[in-house]
C-alpha cells in the first residue's frame, strides 16, 4: 500500500542510464553491458567518452533534487537526458509514468512544452524580444492567446520581482535580473518539473545567495519539483532536499545534506564535505549518546533535570541551549520521553565532522 503511493509520487525516474559519446558508441555500449567495462577502458578500447554511467535517481513530487559534481563529471549530460535533448545509450527514463524514449516527436514536444521546463546557465534570453515576450515564450509556443499569456508572464515576472522591467530588452538587464527572467519564463509555462543547469554559477556570491533562497522559496510555494545542477556543494545544501554527488559520470551518493555530510559514501565525497560548516546540518539525533551509556559514565548527573531539545535541533541550537544551562549536556526528547543525551564532546564531534559511530572515548 505504502509503496504504491510512493511509486506514484515519483515524477521522474531515471533507471541505470548510460550515455556514451563517440563514433563507436554502440560497440562500447555493448561491451559495457556485456563485460562491464570502466570509463577508462571504454576510452582506451573504443575511443569513446562515457558522459553518464549507470545513473539511477528518483525525483519525487515537490522535491528539489540537486546534482553536484566537478566540471566534466556529467551533470549537464545527465540533465539533458532527462528531457531527451540527448538520447541515452542504455537505460530508461520515466517521466510522469511514461517512458520518454517511446514518445514520438509530437508527444515529446508536448511533454517538453507542458511538463518539463528548463533553465540554462547561459540564460538564453531572446535578444530581439522584450522581457515580457521572453517570459511568455513557453506559452506562445503552446498557442496560448496573447492577452492570456502576457497576463501569466506578468504574474511570473512579479514573482521574481521584475514587474518594472517588463518592456525592457534583455541587454538592458544585469546578469542576476536576466537569470530571474529565465526563471520567470520557466515558471510561466507552469511545468511540473523544472530542470536547472547551473543557473546561478555565473553570478556574484551575494546575488547568488539571494537567488538561491528566492528559488527555493518559490519552488516550494508553487509545489514544483526541480532538478538543480551545481558544482558548488554549499549551493546544493542550501537549495536541495536531496543531493546526488556525481563523479566521472557515476552517481556516488544520494541523500539529504545531513546524510552526505555526516556519512560520506567514500573518500571523494568526504573530501568535498570536509570544508562544509556542520552547524546547521548535523542534527541532535546523529550526535546523541544513548541514555544508559551516559548514565554509566556520569552516574551523578540527573538526566531529567537537563535542558531539553528535539532530535531535529541542529548543532547551532544545541550550542545555544548548552550555553544557557549550567550542565555540559542536553537531553534529547521525542514524544515526551528522553531518547538520548548530547554532551559537549558530542557537539564538538559533530562540528568536527567525525562520524557518529566513531569511538567517542578516544
Amino acid at each position: 500500500m505504502n509503496t504504491v503511493k510512493e511509486a506514484n509520487d515519483v515524477l521522474l525516474d531515471c533507471q541505470n542510464v548510460w550515455k556514451i559519446f563517440g563514433a563507436r558508441s554502440s560497440a562500447a555500449v555493448k561491451a559495457v553491458s556485456d563485460r562491464g567495462l570502466s570509463k577508462k577502458q571504454v576510452l582506451q578500447d573504443f575511443d569513446c567518452v562515457v558522459g553518464v554511467s549507470d545513473a539511477s535517481l528518483q525525483v519525487r513530487r515537490g522535491e528539489i533534487f540537486c546534482i553536484m559534481g566537478l566540471s566534466g563529471s556529467g551533470k549537464s549530460t545527465l540533465v539533458r537526458l532527462l528531457n531527451r535533448l540527448i538520447e541515452p545509450s542504455l537505460g530508461k527514463i520515466v517521466v510522469k509514468g511514461r517512458e520518454i524514449a517511446t514518445l514520438n516527436a509530437a508527444e515529446l514536444r508536448d511533454m517538453r512544452a507542458r511538463n518539463i521546463g528548463m533553465v540554462f546557465q547561459s540564460v538564453a534570453l531572446l535578444p530581439y524580444r522584450t522581457v515580457l515576450e521572453n517570459a511568455a515564450f513557453g506559452l506562445e509556443v503552446r498557442g496560448v492567446p496573447k492577452d492570456e499569456r502576457n497576463e501569466t508572464a506578468r504574474a511570473a515576472l512579479a514573482k521574481v520581482g521584475l514587474s518594472d522591467w517588463i518592456s525592457r530588452y534583455p541587454s538592458e538587464l544585469s546578469g542576476g535580473m536576466q537569470q530571474r527572467v529565465g526563471l520567470a519564463r520557466a515558471l510561466a509555462a507552469d511545468p511540473e518539473i523544472i530542470l536547472m543547469d547551473e543557473p546561478f554559477s555565473a553570478l556574484d556570491p551575494l546575488i547568488r545567495r539571494q537567488l538561491q533562497d528566492e528559488f527555493r522559496q518559490l519552488t516550494k510555494s508553487l509545489g514544483k519539483s526541480a532538478v538543480f545542477i551545481t558544482h558548488d556543494l554549499e549551493e546544493a545544501i542550501r537549495i536541495g532536499d536531496r543531493i546526488a554527488i556525481m563523479k566521472d559520470g557515476m552517481i556516488v551518493q544520494v541523500g539529504t545534506a545531513e546524510e552526505i555530510v555526516t556519512k560520506p559514501a567514500d573518500d571523494y565525497v568526504a573530501e568535498f564535505v570536509a570544508g562544509i560548516s556542520r552547524i546547521h546540518l548535523v542534527k541532535a539525533h546523529s550526535v546523541m549518546r544513548p541514555v544508559a551509556d551516559f548514565k554509566t559514565s556520569q552516574p551523578h548527573c540527573d538526566v531529567g533535570a537537563l535542558l531539553k531539545a528535539s532530535p531535529e535541533a541542529d548543532i547551532g541550537e544545541l550550542i545555544d541551549i548548552t550555553m544557557r544551562s549550567d550542565r555540559d549536556a542536553v537531553a534529547v526528547v521525542e514524544n515526551g520521553s528522553i531518547v538520548g543525551v548530547v554532551t559537549t564532546r558530542g557537539l564538538l564531534r559533530g562540528v568536527a565532522g567525525m562520524p557518529a559511530g566513531a569511538p567517542s572515548a578516544a
Binding site: 535533448l85 512544452a113 538564453a124 531572446l126 530581439y128 509556443v141 503552446r142 541587454s171
Partner: protein, 282 residues
Amino acid sequence: MDTSVITDLFDTWTDNALGWIGDNGEWLFEFIRLILEGTYDGILWLLKLAPFYVIAIIAGLLAWRLINRIAGFLAGVALAFCAFMGLWAETMSTLALVATATILALAVAIPIGIVAGFVQAFDRALEPALDLIQTLPPYIYLLPAIALLGYGPATALVATFIVAMPPSIRLTSLGIRMTPREFIELGQASGLSPWQMFTKIRLPFAIPSIMAGINQSLMMAFGMVVIAGIVGSGGLGETIYGAVRTLDIATSINAAIAIVILTMVLDRLTQSAAHRAKAGVR
C-alpha cells in the same frame, strides 16, 4: 589547325543552341520580358509620379530617421543635385532598374539561401556555382540575355538579376546556419515545432546577416546597371555609354556623379537598416 576546328565546332554548336532556345522558347522569353519590363515600368511610373524634390525630401527624411540629421540633409541635397544637373529622369530610371532587379533577385535568393541554410548538401553544391557567377566578368551575362531577350531594359534586368543574387544567397544561408547553439537548445527544450524553430529562433537571428546580404546585392546591382548601358538599359548607364562614344566628357562625368550619389544614398540607408537589425539581436 586541329584546335580551331574544335573551337569553331563549339561556337557553331553554341550559336545553334541559342538559336534553338530562342526559336522554341520564344513564348517563355516573351513572358519573362513581360514580367521584367512590367515591374520596371510600374516602379518607374511610381517614381515619376512625384516631382524630384518630393523624392529628395523622402530620402532625406529616411536618412535622418535611420542615421542622423546630417546624413538626412546630405542625402536630400545630393539627390536634388542630380536634378539640377538635368539628369533626374535618367537617375530615376536607374533607380527603377536597380530596384526591380534587386527585388526580383531577393525574391529568389532569400528562399534559396534559407533552403541552403538547412540542407548542407545543397549549400555545398551551390557554392561552386556562386563562385563561378562572381568570378566571371559581369558583362558576360549580357550576351546570352541579349540573344534571347533583345536590346532593352529586360536584358539589363536579367544580367543585373544574376549578378545581384549570389551575395544574398550566401549571407542568408550563413545567417540560418549560424543560430547560436544555446538558442537551438532553448527551442528544443521549450517544445518548438520545426516551423516555430524557424520563425521564432533561426530567422530572427539570421536577420542581420540577411540585411547585410541585401545591401551587398544592391551594390552589385548598381555596378551591373551601369555596364548594362551598352544594351540600351536606359538610365544613367546608357547616358554614360552614349557620352563616352561621342567623347562628351562633361555629360559622362555628370552622369557618373549622379550614379555615385544614388549608390551612396542607398548604401547608407540599407547599411544602417542592417545595423539596426543587428542591434536588435544583441
